[in-house]
């Protein structure tokens, strides 16, 4: 369960000060699917970053599974991120001059998964995104959609309990985008992973059981919350 309590995020100081998030309160149960929607620049990515502990908050608190992120030691935070969370970024952030295998293996190396298990896990993840034939191909040789699928394979290889996705279909045509979303929802069903998706695609948002609309750093409306 993720609890976001009175969270504010302010960038800069004095004249250059900008309030990106203001008084956000959310409770997301385990296994939920949440869509964060809103106009460009409204603070969606910022919210996702602070929820995952990638960015620091200015006020309030974020509690995941009873642990307050701001109070975790760096080591514990790293460990938590390596084993429990994964990310799909707005721009894929894959390493072009490494093979698909190397790209997907990175989270396993970081989480210190035993060497023998790795290849099987990478294969499974690539199979899920239908890239199994490209396992030893350099990532730079993939098409845009394939790259995004590779990023997703990297996000699911460790079977995380929490997946953050920032515009996962933003760069894809609708057919491919749908396929990828199917995959993420499938993972939510089979593994019970919590899915937090930033998007401005209405159809995609509609597939999530919970939705929150952000406007100018504030919650404008919420749907599906108890």
């Amino acid at each position: 369960m993720i609890k976001v309590k009175d969270v504010s995020k302010v960038y800069g100081k004095k004249e250059g000060m900008f309030t990106a998030l203001e008084n956000i309160n959310l409770t997301i149960p385990d296994g939920a699917t949440l869509a964060i929607v809103g106009k460009s620049g409204s603070g969606k990515s910022t919210l996702m970053h602070v929820m995952s502990g990638l960015d620091h908050i200015t006020a309030g608190s974020i509690i995941i599974d009873g642990k307050e992120l701001a109070k975790l030691k760096p080591k514990a935070m790293d460990r938590f991120r390596a084993t429990e969370m994964s990310f799909i970024f707005q721009s894929f952030f894959i390493e072009p001059n490494q093979s698909c295998y190397q790209n997907v293996m990175l989270p396993l190396e970081i989480a210190q998964v035993p060497r023998k298990k790795r290849r099987e896990m990478v294969k499974d993840a690539l199979l899920d995104v239908e890239l199994e034939s490209k396992i030893d191909t350099d990532a730079s040789k993939l098409s845009g959609g394939q790259k995004q699928r590779l990023a997703i394979a990297r996000a699911i290889v460790n079977k995380p309990s929490l997946i953050f996705a920032d515009e996962p279909t933003g760069n894809l045509d609708s057919a491919t985008g749908d396929k990828i979303m199917d995959l993420l929802f499938e993972l939510n069903k089979t593994l019970g992973s919590t899915l937090i998706i930033v998007t401005h695609d209405h159809d995609l948002a509609a597939r999530c059981k919970m939705q929150v609309r952000i406007k100018d750093g504030k919650i404008e409306s919420m749907k599906g919350f108890k």
Partner: protein, 460 residues
């Protein structure tokens, strides 16, 4: 991340930018090349001086004298010393001379009586007029008593495996073989040569003349006023080649037995002021191969006011010189390495900037700061390994290519090389360069570790 995975990732990202890696490594390679060459030359010189000493000096022998220049290995002291009869003048070069306190025959005899002394060899200085052979021209030359601890290379004939050569025999340097009309080295063996020695006009002969009551006219025709000389005949036992480790200056001297040397010396020096006074004598210590016994003998001799030099002291003096040279050249190599350090720092900084996104991603995925900095330091270590290996290989190849030429040019003698590479030394050199490279990678690695993942991921 496991250390092994860090190492693999590091080497992979280096391979991704091969040219840059290679160029950075080349800077270290230059340093490694200079340093490996310096080490090799130092090895070669140390080996060579070792051979030089062991081919010319018996380690159980001590050089014992009365002048303090013998103990210090330096030039004559600048402070005046008290004069006594044992002091004589020795010319040094063409224009200068020094006064040297000599060791007398009586003192040498005293040394012979000591319980720890096996043998004492006087350093006879023999001046000869010429060397010749029946029916041949006369040639200049020098003579020396045979030194059993010298290992002359023989063209023909033989010397005893230990001890002195036979009385009446001579070792003839190869240069005389053709001059004296022999067909070859072998042809000279068993033949006889003549050596002419001149007797100085001694005080005794002067006294004899003055008390002989002869008139001036009689004196002018008298045999007594003419310089006397005598021809000594020796049988050639062996022909010696000039070896690279010989210490002889100019033409190699002929070598005769110590008994013959004594006879010739008596003939040529008796009556002169320096007769039976030697610059030094060689004292062979009983069981002198045992360092403890040799040291005890040295201490005893010093306590009696002798100046002593062992072959070890001599080697130390030469080695010191070699070491200074090595350090001087080594400093250049070191400077090159320092310069290459900046290359590594620069390359790694650029690498961190280029891979800001990758670093951000790794951090977002939970890679610890320490692991990130390890990754970049390992990359620097790899560059150090590559540079060190390239430089050392270049050095070894240079050694293989240059050694035959250098050996010939520097007249080191067959079997001696100037550049000697030792595997352990090379391994240590490479390890040291890897360490230096790793330290150079420290700063960029810290920068990478400190990157804020959000900032890093924002860069498009």
């Amino acid at each position: 991340m496991y250390f092994r995975d860090v190492v693999k990732r590091g080497s992979r990202s280096l391979r991704a930018s091969k040219l840059r890696t290679l160029l950075t490594a080349l800077a270290i390679a230059v340093g490694a090349f200079v340093l490996s060459l310096t080490l090799a030359a130092s090895n070669g010189l140390h080996d060579y001086t070792g051979k030089l000493i062991s081919n010319n000096f018996d380690p159980s022998e001590l050089i014992v004298g009365r002048d303090k220049t013998i103990g210090s290995g330096s030039a004559a002291g600048s402070d005046p010393q008290e004069y006594d009869d044992s002091i004589s003048t020795v010319s040094v070069g063409a224009k200068s001379s020094v006064q040297v306190k000599r060791i007398t025959e009586a003192e040498a005899e005293g040394l012979r009586q000591k319980p720890y002394v096996e043998k004492v060899r006087e350093n006879f200085q023999i001046t000869i007029r010429y060397i010749t052979r029946e029916g041949q021209k006369k040639y200049t030359g020098g003579a020396e008593p045979y030194n059993p601890s010298q290992k002359p290379e023989l063209g023909a004939g033989a010397v005893p495996s230990g001890g002195d050569i036979k009385t009446g025999s001579v070792l003839l340097p190869e240069v005389y073989v053709k001059l004296l009309g022999f067909q070859n080295d072998q042809d000279a063996i068993g033949k006889t040569i003549q050596v002419d020695i001149q007797q100085p006009f001694s005080t005794e002969s002067l006294k004899a003349l003055l008390t002989s009551n002869q008139t001036a006219a009689q004196l002018a025709n008298s045999e007594a006023v003419k310089a006397k000389d005598q021809v000594f005949s020796y049988t050639i036992a062996a022909v010696t080649k000039k070896t690279a480790t010989s210490l002889a200056i100019g033409v190699e001297p002929i070598r005769i037995s110590s008994t013959d040397a004594r006879e010739v010396y008596d003939f040529s020096a008796k009556g002169t002021t320096d007769y039976n006074k030697y610059l030094f004598v060689s004292v062979q210590v009983k069981d002198g191969a045992d360092a403890a016994k040799l040291n005890a003998a040295e201490d005893n001799l010093r306590s009696e006011g002798f100046y002593v030099q062992s072959s070890k002291d001599l080697q130390k003096t030469i080695t010191q010189f070699v070491n200074i040279l090595t350090i001087m050249v080594g400093v250049f190599g070191f400077i090159t390495v320092i310069a290459s350090v900046f290359g590594i720092v620069n390359t790694q900084y650029i690498s961190v900037l280029e891979r800001t996104r990758e670093i951000g991603l790794m951090k977002a995925l939970g890679m610890a700061r320490g692991e990130i900095s390890q990754l970049f330091m390992i990359e620097a270590t790899w560059i150090g390994l590559l540079g060190g290996a390239l430089g050392s290989i270049a050095g070894i190849v240079t050694g293989i290519a240059l050694n035959p030429y250098l050996t010939k040019k520097l007249d080191l003698g067959a079997g001696n090389s100037l550049l000697i590479y030792r595997p352990l030394q090379m391994a240590l050199l490479i390890a040291a360069l890897m360490l230096v490279a790793t330290i150079a990678g420290l700063l960029p690695a810290r920068k990478a570790a400190k990157l804020d993942p959000i900032e890093a991921l924002r860069t498009e």
